[in-house]
Amino acid sequence: MPIRETIARTLDELGAFSDPLERLEFLIDQARAMPPLPDTDKTEANRVEGCMAQLWLTARFADGRCRFHSDSDSLVVKSIAGLLCSIYDDATPQEVLEFPPDFLAEAGVTSHLSANRRNALTQVWKKIRAFAEAHR
């Protein structure tokens, strides 16, 4: 699916919740359905720093597209990181760089998150962006 459509669908889904807690619960349910990272991928190199919980992100590049997968021992963190991964997974590096996740804040999706959780989101985005830049 082109990234524009992924973003539009994500915003539609999340915009359906007027209660931030219900929206978070929806994201957590999605996170719980995501397959966990294998332990062999939970390495220091894949660690996302700046988050109080343990958070890992793997990035792979195949057939001109980026593949992102994340995991955390905190379901809230996993749900936030997973949201970003689901948006940018299967996108081209160009698409990743063209659509930074500012639209999430603009849509109010991240407004209920604590500063620490927003920081986790920023750190995940930095890793995703760096990976896309390296494969542009």
Binding site: A53, Q54, S74, V76, V77
Partner: protein, 414 residues
């Protein structure tokens, strides 16, 4: 002597304006993070306003009336602190930014002057980072070694292991009086006596204990006691190092600058008398006077009654928390204070804190600045509810109800 009314938690709570403040869409604030910092009563808030509206000036050097007033109140706070902890001589009270700076002062001043290669500093495995890292720093520069008293699964110090450690060349024992994670109150009196018999000096980290229980440094016979004002109703940025005057006299300055000198030439300087030798620069005057105001609140209250209230509330909290299926209490020491840490199977501590925060409940989650302790428990983080005299059963009931909701949410099938 004025009579003191029996402690009444509701009446005491009413003196803390912030506790009446709604949070999260009008939900009442349930503040269970007092081991991190306590809230401030009207007496301290008014004091801070009064200070800045009636006497703000720099201390010690001024000739004018305001400087005189500020100096009088600043030094009077020192007298109050000395009386509060049973120190016979106010010169034994050094004002610092907090417990951390007080311990760093001892490590950098006493430690560098006394520790040599091969000496041992004995700590415990339940210390806050502020009583580990300063000693690691000084050990790296002096060649001293660090050794740790382990703790049992109940969260009590292994005193037999301590006795064995004291067979070695121990120069200093530094330990927490009350664990900020486990709540354990350590038997500091017997540890101090044993350390003294072995010729070691003892530093007690009183950050959690001084706010909670009466302390008498003369009876306890500790050489150093460090604590923070902000955990006992005073403003942030003010703390205390108590030290036996003879030790302070012999210690070199920690920081150099104004206020701490007697005479300065271009070549060298001589130092002011204690405690001023250790208070370089303009001190936290408002904070110090605020600490004095907080001590006034302690001295005007039924402290035994307040402590009994907190002990009963801690027991109630533990009993009610056990209603949450899968909750594991961390720390079951026989003598304990109101820091209650726990984990819940299948729910990350940060997620617990996040969800109870949605209900207006403030708890702490993480390593609580005690990573070695948390690691020994086999965890990466814990959730902690910590109590103070203004908490009531209603706060505990709100926490348990919220935890039960969290548990239901995480337990349901995705």
């Amino acid at each position: 002597m004025t009579s003191v009314l029996p402690f009444d938690a509701e009446a005491f709570r009413a003196r803390f304006p912030i506790l009446g403040q709604p949070v999260r869409d009008g939900k009442p604030l349930v503040y269970l993070d007092s081991a991190a910092t306590t809230q401030k009563p009207v007496e301290v808030l008014d004091n801070q306003r009064d200070y800045y509206t009636t006497m703000n000036a720099n201390v010690h050097r001024g000739i004018h009336r305001l400087a005189e007033l500020a100096t009088e109140h600043y030094e009077n706070a020192r007298v109050k602190v000395a009386r509060f902890i049973g120190a016979p001589d106010p010169r034994s009270i050094v004002f610092t930014r907090g417990t951390t700076e007080a311990i760093n002062l001892v490590a950098q001043s006493w430690g560098r002057a006394h520790l040599t290669p091969g000496d041992t500093v004995v700590l415990t495995a339940m210390e806050h980072h502020s009583n580990i890292v300063p000693w690691q720093l000084v050990a790296a520069t002096t060649g001293a070694k660090l050794a740790y008293i382990p703790f049992t699964p109940e969260g009590e110090l292994d005193l037999a292991a301590f006795e064995r450690l004291m067979q070695g060349p121990v120069k200093l024992v530094a330990l927490t009086h009350m664990s900020n994670v486990l709540g354990t109150i350590n038997p500091v009196e017997s540890i101090i006596a044993a350390a003294h018999r072995a010729g070691a000096v003892v530093l007690v980290d009183g950050a959690q204990s001084v706010p909670f229980m009466p302390i008498d440094v003369a009876a306890m016979d500790c050489d150093f006691l460090a604590f923070s004002g902000h955990k006992m109703m005073a403003p942030t940025g003010i703390g205390v190092l108590y030290a036996k005057p003879a030790l302070l006299e012999a210690m070199p300055p920690f920081l150099g600058g104004g206020e701490m000198i007697s005479k300065v030439t271009l070549e060298s300087s001589t130092w002011a008398e204690i405690p001023h030798k250790f208070e370089a620069g303009t001190p936290n005057i408002a904070g110090t006077i605020g600490l004095g105001a907080a001590i006034d609140v302690y001295e005007a209250m039924d402290r035994d009654g307040a402590r009994r209230h907190e002990e009963a509330l801690t027991a109630y909290a533990i009993e009610r928390l056990m209603e949450v299926d899968g909750l594991i209490l961390r720390g079951r020491a026989a003598r304990r204070g109101g820091a209650v840490s726990f984990s819940i199977a299948g729910v990350h501590p940060h997620d617990i804190a996040h969800f109870v925060d949605q209900d207006g409940i403030a708890v702490r989650a993480g390593h609580m600045c005690a990573q070695p302790l948390i690691r020994q428990l086999g965890e990466t983080a814990l959730t902690r509810a910590s109590l103070y005299f203004y908490n009531t059963r209603a706060d505990i009931d709100a926490l348990v109800a919220s935890l039960l909701r969290v548990k239901r949410f995480f337990d349901r099938a995705p």
